[in-house]
Symmetry: C2
Subunit: 626 residues, 2 copies
């Protein structure tokens, strides 16, 4: 075993024992370097000085030096951990070489066999990551000569039988890593297997690939107590403006898991397309999918849900209604059910029936509309068994209803005239009626989510939607006064502020000249700094923690599909992840070095995030910002 | 052979013979559909109406219909051609099914065997594309039942022996496609094999994959006369801020070829890193590469150049100097050569030695600096044999020179004081001396390129740099008055306007808060509309065609690397490509439908461009814009 001894307290002491360091350098040169068949040996090495990895020439006399990979693992209080733990934590200052064959997961009995199986799958996922790291690493580096016998074994302790992650799941965990001789033991203790899974992710961040030595390296000592600041930490993916394949969604879940995000909210349908191939209403995808290949079958969603659960991620499906619905709903008349949706595929320029093309809004006075919705809900419940359901509810314009005889006649019959208030009544009628259909399927205990809209803005004042039942997803800007109104009305809130957590902003317009409507681009810095406590205090509110559930970054897909979605989501989503998990009082500058390193690590895990800086900034910490 | 008969003149005639259409529909349903094992059959089909592919329900009575893939090939004057030909062209209105085994390339003897070999490679590339299209297509569609015996054979006629593409290469070609019975003959005639290669690209755009029928389909008739509007059509890739791998550069060349772009300009070095592993000066990459794995060897560049030439692309290497140089130049003193570069890795905040971190500028008063440059030039010449060389020359600040004793002492000795004008003299001294070294290597006939800078702005007025020798690459904004000054001084110009053709703008800042310095994002619309004739007319100039060589989109890499570069380059580069090849008087709205289709086609070719619209807009042409 080649144990790199790096005692941080000695690093600034240039009078350190020269003989020892000399021997150490000789050892490096003798054992390792001749076996590396690269074009040349880099003259650069690193030292950990004042919590920064500082690049130095190896020829600098009387200095100890280590590789950048090793330095990052042991330098600075948090090392490379992302998101930072919220409880007390402490990392050691030594690393050892490791081979993946020497990583032994000792599965300890948990309270029930279902959870045993889950834990086994979770450990397989982690092991797969080490295998990939070694396989990829060995493609470009040659293994070091010293054969290491070092062994890592892992114990997991779990208290509860919980086998599906929900908003209520206790996600806390503790992780201890201790090394004696050639043996390291990692122990994870957690209430639930989902907490333990977070512990496995953290453990994976204590192990890295050393490109200078061609080996896995591992931090030898750690104590970490950790739990998330917010229970709802997620990403919304729109699968209707452009289709996102099942394979890509599975890959996105991998990334969410690495960031300890626990929610994938699928904006499954919109006016543009309806990709869910419902068993009970096959007409929806037949008419509404972009093609027979761009669909999710019932089995696809079932697979997605199970894959996500193993990675600590819950799926929240959304069927947006009554607006943002059109394609997929065109078959009603053909089947004798009348019009299920109105103004389908109309241009917003004709009559202003919607904001962006294509238009489409459900027909709220046709009872079959609700029957179809209930059938779709039923399929989603059976496929995903979600602990929450998203009913959409954004961007309703009344022009289409107002221009449809069937609607206005119904309104007259029901004592409504055609003022804006009357149309709000109609919208509430739709909302209440479709909620009954949700209740029929998911039960009255399932919370439902609605986007902020002119409706939620109204009810925030007059309280027509039950705050005990509805959760409001705030896409309004972070200074919009709808936020305190909703909060004081008693709603629980999920934040997706358009001015901070929208991943689609700042590209060219897709309906004319100029930039798209939510430009400019939201940088990772803006995303990191969207501190919900601070946001609420801006309204003079010290928020009740039970009311602020957390947040979601939003990947609307008008201008993204499988081809480029990874780079638009990452690394910015990681910034949101640390905000929601760690919720540190600090701003982005504090996180910058770890963030940039985490982006590089995510690449090794297959998550192809965008670059945010020249690599020079990573190799010369603190020179680009501090 | 199943020949889809689509006579556009009949499309609006709903009194068309019902029996024939009925039989046609029966044929479709009977032969093809039962074999497609997709979840369902799409109820949608297309008609070409007034040059648009219009989506209709298949159940609509008395209408003929075709698939979207077929419709795009035959609908509208230009079909799916991108960039549009500049000479007369005409496409037919019929398609046939085709199998890749039935595509026979009859290589005709060209004037010399070198070119024969090149043409053979070019045809292999094209055939590889059809193989990929069929292979990928068959993964998601089932082949149609009707076995087609249709055959495509290809003849190529070439006049000249030219075997390396340069600025002077005649790239024109003519393409004829004629069908008789079950046989289609495509003939390409061109002066050079590089013109013929463009013909092959055009031919590839007449062949598509039909997802409804699970088969290659081909336009049966075409006459196309074509030549580019500008001789210099390129992309600049910065490989120094972040490293771009050889594999990725090869892939980028594939994309350039599909867009008929003929230039890849490599910004090989910058202050951040020096990835070229020069044979003669191995110290450069050893000290300057980000790692021993992030380098281009001599052989890598040789491979790159040959790969590019087969695809009609020339490589122009750039060694930026005297500024934008630092890492890689640190070893001078150690080897007894003195300081080759100054202020290396200094922060711009200390003394304002540069604009962005890290600083670094060459030492113009050390003769070894020029010796090293000449050695690097020599390696590049041997590896790439470029027909032009780029000397960089942008963003010099004088503070570093002014703060260096060696420099100021030399200036005093040479009769210079320390005014701004004196430092311009020093810069010109550097430029003239390094040009001599370029001449030693490349010869005096090789044009050299410089970026616009305060130096070119000066000499545009007082003419110190020979307009016969220097080409100026204009990164100034499209309304900057440096443009007419340079033009009137007699320089030939290459345009890379920062306000139109910069691919890196609009993301978050990498040196502080806010957005990066050239924000906002340049949309494809802005890129398409950067019409150089129009730009020059804005200055009251009717440009001499010989002076306006063309342009390059610029992919600076501070915030991009292998992970996401495809989606930042494409599809926007295709917009620049049509501007430079076709240079139509029209603006982007004219090109929008073809552009969106071309992006989809590039995906099939493996070029993972960003999405610019919901797929709905592609499937419902003209509804999002027109």
């Amino acid at each position: 075993m080649l144990l790199l001894l790096v005692n941080r307290s000695n690093l600034k002491d240039i009078s350190v024992n020269k003989d020892m360091l000399g021997q150490f350098i000789d050892l490096l040169l003798f054992i390792v370097l001749p076996r590396v068949i690269q074009a040349f040996e880099s003259p650069w090495a690193y030292q950990c000085i004042e919590d920064k990895c500082v690049r130095v020439l190896k020829s600098t006399p009387h200095e100890d030096f280590i590789s950048l990979d090793t330095c990052k693992l042991i330098c600075g209080k948090g090392g490379t951990l992302w998101p930072l733990p919220t409880g007390p934590y402490k990392l050691g200052d030594q690393v050892v070489f490791l081979k993946k064959e020497k990583i032994v997961f000792r599965k300890l009995a948990s309270p029930c066999s279902d959870v045993d199986m889950l834990i086994e799958k979770m450990m397989t996922v982690l092991h797969g990551y080490f295998e990939k790291m070694e396989e990829d690493g060995l493609k470009v580096t040659v293994p070091h000569g010293a054969d290491t016998e070092h062994e890592l074994s892992l114990d997991i302790y779990i208290n509860r039988c919980e086998k599906q992650i929900t908003l209520q799941t206790n996600e806390s965990y503790s992780l201890w890593v201790n090394t004696e001789g050639t043996s390291t033991v990692a122990s994870i203790a957690a209430e639930t297997c989902f907490g333990a899974r977070h512990g496995l992710e953290t453990l994976s961040q204590l192990i890295s690939w050393d490109y200078a030595f061609g080996s896995l390296i591992m931090q030898t000592s750690a104590t970490i107590i950790d739990a998330p600041a917010y229970p709802h930490r997620g990403l919304m993916v729109d699968t209707a403006r452009n289709f996102i394949s099942l394979e890509k969604l599975l890959h996105i879940i991998d990334g969410l898991a690495h960031d300890k995000m626990n929610t994938l909210h699928l904006h499954l349908s919109d006016a543009n397309s309806f990709p869910f191939d419902s068993k009970r209403v096959p007409q929806m995808a037949k008419y509404g999918a972009y093609s027979p290949r761009k669909v999710y079958s019932f089995e696809d969603l079932k697979e997605l849900g199970e894959y996500a659960n193993v990675r600590g991620v819950r799926i929240i499906p959304e069927i947006d209604a009554p607006a943002h619905a059109g394609n997929g709903w065109q078959w009603g008349s053909e089947y004798g059910l009348g019009d299920l949706a109105l103004c389908v595929n109309e241009s917003p320029r004709s009559q202003g029936a919607c904001y962006d093309p294509p238009c489409g809004i459900l027909n709220p006075v046709n009872n079959y509309t609700y029957d179809v919705l209930e059938s779709i809900y039923f399929d989603l419940m059976q496929a995903l068994n979600p602990d929450m359901f998203h009913m959409g509810g954004d961007e309703v314009r009344f022009n289409c209803w107002n221009n449809t005889n069937e609607i206005t006649e119904w309104m007259t019959l029901n004592g409504l005239s055609r003022t804006e208030e009357d149309f709000f009544h109609l919208w509430k009628y739709f909302q209440n009626t479709s909620l009954q259909r949700v209740d029929n399927v998911f039960g009255r205990d399932t919370p439902v989510i609605l986007w902020t809209s002119s409706l939620t803005d109204q009810v925030a004042v007059n309280g027509h939607l039950d705050p005990g039942r509805y959760i409001i997803q705030v896409w309004s800007g972070s200074r919009d006064f709808t936020i305190p109104r909703l909060y004081y009305t008693g709603y629980r809130l999920i934040f997706s502020n358009v001015d901070a957590w929208y991943l689609d902003c700042g590209y060219g317009s897709w309906v004319g000249d100029g930039l798209n409507s939510c430009a400019p681009y939201k940088s990772w810095q803006v995303m990191y700094d969207n501190d919900l406590d601070y946001l609420m205090r801006g309204f003079g509110i010290r928020p009740d923690p039970g009311k602020i559930l957390g947040g979601e970054a939003a990947m609307w897909s008008e201008q993204v599909d499988d081809a480029t979605i990874d780079g638009k989501i990452w690394p910015r989503l990681s910034a949101v992840a640390e905000r929601l998990w760690s919720n540190l009082p600090e701003r982005w500058r504090f996180a910058e070095r770890r963030f940039v390193h985490h982006r590089e690590r995510m690449l090794l895990k297959g998550i192809m995030g965008d670059a945010v800086q020249p690599l020079w900034c990573h190799q010369n910490e603190g020179f680009c910002y501090n």
